[in-house]
């Protein structure tokens, strides 16, 4: 189709002077004739993500009554009408982790494993790494940033432990905190983009700063090496993770990843933070930067804490006259709960926004969304009842052709972890199981597979 093809490596050499991890979107000229792989046969990168919305849905209003590809659109899924061909709606799967309300479902839907009580009745943490971390460990080394953790509602509830605050966990009491500011996220993704100055004074200052940071981090690494033998096994593991963080900082010093300079589309558009109390505006701005980061191949793995069950009293809720957080209303609003219903729609609108954003990016013959496997889910079946069976899930994207889309799949109480395992395998993570204890799965969901 094209008169000539460039290898991706040649492009990188041409711009970055041998900087191998420079982020670039795949240009059409680098792709094969079908636009489905690089010209050298290497597959297009696949993307994994997990997104959590708070406090469930109303099954009677959300769950399609029929399965298959011609499923009937329901009131609470209506915001997803425009992308229904790109998603699989899943119902009838049971989260096998039970126990403390909200904690069991949150931990179970993220790591498929039991929670850990850390000494206080409702203070818990995860026992295992969350699904995004498992994907990151397999895919993260291929991109400048191994993963991105983003969020919208930054409610912190210390008494609920790390479970009640952070989505992404490496293990017990070990979180990857989310970035809640779109501009801060942009700065992290495009560090240095547009900031470099050509003046000799600035260049000299930058050289001193780089040398200073390098010598400082080298000293810290040496300190850590002295400390390590004195620690017990658990603390050694904590220190090792700290060391990984320092090494990542050192790598960034020597790797001027500047996609903006390399012409990554739109990467010079640093956003201004909207009102942080607006879920809609913040979520859209976060999704915009996230989509850009994925399009530029800055990372291939993300977690998205839209909100956990305890939310702030965000703008849209306050505008409806609410005095307390959304979670409280799922319990105290009487009758048909019109306010809760309205906010479930709001959550689904943000889900749809991110999906549509990824679909709008053309990659070869398809879209960025086609390369994705994103799990959208929540912590309970329905806020009112706290149950963790019949958990709602939406899978978006086709994982580069590995997944089927455009359908509603209903299971008869199968383990929700089966879905995670299916998606991990679909994006190329060599996992044979997911979860632990009652949440352990070694089974995929055939209906999801293309």
């Amino acid at each position: 189709m094209r008169p000539f093809r460039l290898s991706r490596r040649a492009v990188l050499r041409g711009i970055g002077g041998g900087v191998a991890s420079l982020a670039l979107p795949p240009l059409d000229a680098m792709l094969d004739n079908h636009g489905t792989a690089y010209a050298d046969g290497a597959p297009l990168p696949k993307i994994f993500g997990v997104f959590m919305w708070p406090d469930g849905r109303k099954p009677a209003l959300w769950d399609p009554p029929d399965t298959g590809t011609s499923w009937t659109m329901t009131p609470e899924l209506m915001p997803l009408a425009a992308v229904r061909g790109d998603i699989t709606v899943l119902t009838g799967f049971n989260c096998k982790i039970t126990g403390f309300v909200h904690h069991a479902g949150t931990v179970g839907m993220l790591s498929g494993a039991p929670y850990v009580v850390v000494g206080s009745g409702t203070t818990t943490t995860h026992s295992q790494a969350t699904v995004d971390v498992i994907a990151r460990n397999a895919l993260g080394a291929k991109t400048p940033l191994p993963s991105l953790e983003v969020g919208v509602d930054d409610k912190s509830y210390p008494d609920e432990g790390t479970t009640g605050y952070a989505l992404s966990h490496n293990g017990p009491m070990n979180i990857n905190p989310a970035i809640f500011s779109p501009s801060a996220l942009f700065d992290k993704v495009f560090s240095g983009a547009g900031a470099a100055s050509a003046s000799p004074v600035a260049a000299r200052a930058a050289a001193i700063a780089a040398a200073g940071r390098k010598s400082m981090l080298d000293a810290v690494l040496a300190d850590a090496a002295d400390l390590r033998p004195r620690l017990g096994a658990a603390d050694k593991a904590r220190l090792d993770q700290h060391l990984d963080g320092i090494r990542q900082l050192e790598t960034r010093l020597t790797t001027p990843a500047t996609p903006a300079a390399a012409g990554c589309p739109g990467s010079n558009a640093r956003p201004t933070d909207p009102d942080p109390t607006s879920h809609t505006l913040t979520s859209q701005a976060i999704s915009d930067v996230l989509a850009l980061a994925l399009a530029c191949d800055v990372t291939r793995v993300f977690s998205y804490k839209y909100a956990l069950w305890h939310t702030t009293t965000f703008t849209e809720l306050a505008a409806d006259g609410a005095k307390e957080d959304y979670h409280t209303y799922t319990h105290i609003e009487p009758g048909a709960q019109p306010l809760v219903q309205k906010h479930i729609l709001l959550h689904m609108q943000q889900v749809a926004y991110l999906i549509a954003k990824l679909k709008a990016v053309t990659v070869g013959a398809g879209t960025l969304l086609d390369q994705c496997a994103i799990l959208f889910t929540t912590d309970v079946q329905e806020g009112l009842n706290h149950l963790t069976d019949n958990m709602p899930m939406i899978v978006a994207g086709r994982a580069g052709g590995a997944l089927r889309a455009g359908q509603h799949v209903h299971a008869m109480g199968d383990n929700t972890s089966n879905v995670h395992l299916t998606l991990l395998q679909a994006v190329g993570v060599p996992a044979t199981s997911f979860g632990a204890g009652p949440g352990l799965s070694t089974t995929t969901v055939p209906a999801l597979l293309a």
Partner: protein
Amino acid sequence: MRTTVHTFLAVCVLGAACSGRIGGGGRGQGATGGLATGAVGGPSGGAGAAMGAAGSGGAGALAPAGMRRRTPTEYWSSVSDLLGLDASVPVPVTEDVAAISGFKNVAASTLTISAEGVSEYADAALSVSALVFDDATKRAALVGCSPAAASDPCVRTFLQAFGRRAWRRPLTGAEVDRYAGIVASLAPMADVWTGLQYAVAGLLQSPWFLYRVEVGEPDPTRARPLRFSAYEMAERLSYFLWDTTPDDALLDAAASGDTLAPAGLDGQVSRLLASPRAHAGVARFFREYLSTDDLATMTKDATLFPGATPTLAAAMQGEIAATTADLVFTRRADLRDLLDNRQTFVNAELAALYGLPGVTGTALAPATLPDSGPRAGLLGTAAFLALNARADRTSPTLRGRFVREQLLCEPVAPPPANVAATFDAPGAATAGTTLRQRLVQHMSDAACSSCHALMDPLGFAFEHFDALGAYRATEGGLAIDDTGTVDGQAFTGPRALAAALRANPAVTGCLTRQIYRYGTGHLETDGEAPVLADIGARAQAAGNAYVDYLRAIVESDGFRFAGGLR
């Protein structure tokens, strides 16, 4: 006391509500030595069964030692002190998210730092060091000399002195070489000051600074597996009593081994308590124990409570800080006075809420609550009453839960799944019934009553106080019933409840455990029961004041020795 706990749990088992957390440890109960021994919750085996056994290790076994992350407060206060800065110190707060039983330092003992956190700490260290080294006066004051070259002896002298304060121990020769090397490598490119700035930034993001490395050393008497070293003891003492890094005098005491033996410790405790900095340590304990930081984000229905302003919330928090400081330092009062103390501190706004006449201005001033009034002690403060209420109505359940978990150290289970509790919704209020009447009706459901019976009868005592903490004669014109029972003993109103609690030894035992958790940074293990009993006995013999507990804890085996490494 543990027998009492189990009695309540046995009650709980009758309903599905409480079965998930038998032995799991309520907010007030803990029986784990930390995460390494933490159990896995969930349906198989249950969270609690394994937790109850966690960290026990037999009677007399102490908790393990390890590397503790700083809390954000410990970071801020230490950096401020080390560099002579004030509130301009940026604090990496991304991971300021977890507390265990209310205490952030307990959570920090096992929290791991993420890659993002490492990056934040690096930026913070560079930023605070620049605040000093970009300012000729500040850097001269910090360094104490003007090095002409990287080889100037004063470079090493400064690194040794500053390093000792920052790392709470002397640096080894190799460590001084390492940081002097930073200065030497940068001086030719820039200047000596720039080199020193990066050396300081390195010292402030070294694991030796970001963690409190309290790994102990072999106990020479072999009575215990590990004792904390003299320098580790100085650090433990300083953060417990001052909420900041040790001063030079305390490090000197460590150098001479004075912090290892009870006699030397006793002298240092007296010295530290005599310092104004001791107020910070006590204030931190009560802030976290009573969750008063939550007042800053508390929301109340503005229509029902037009007086619920941010300045009132700040006064509520200030009242707790001033009252506890008065009890601890000025009056050295019996710890139990916390429950029925009538000497308080209010400003005009808070006095108006309390119905106290004649108080003007925004500053808190001493005031005495009338003996004939309904309000006294911690359970009469607006901070307690408002925090443990909803936005638009009271919550006997939350107030009762606070008493049960925070004052009695008895856990109450969270609600079970599949219970739709909309009985107290604003729209569900039936004309002519009080909240109490609706709650009692709700408790006819066995699934709810087993746990609510632990909370609601205590919380009913406070129904004369509205959701903001103001006294109300009636509930919308309906008569209020504020009778209740605590462990079979009947009472009427909060002051009678406070009297019953004061007479209950479980309350003193619970307070001992709370201070011990804060002081040691871990939840007490089963093996530490004798340690806690000894602390209680010593403190009571000494007068039962808060400082008696501090001293007894510092000199206890649990503070000075450890059972192994985490």
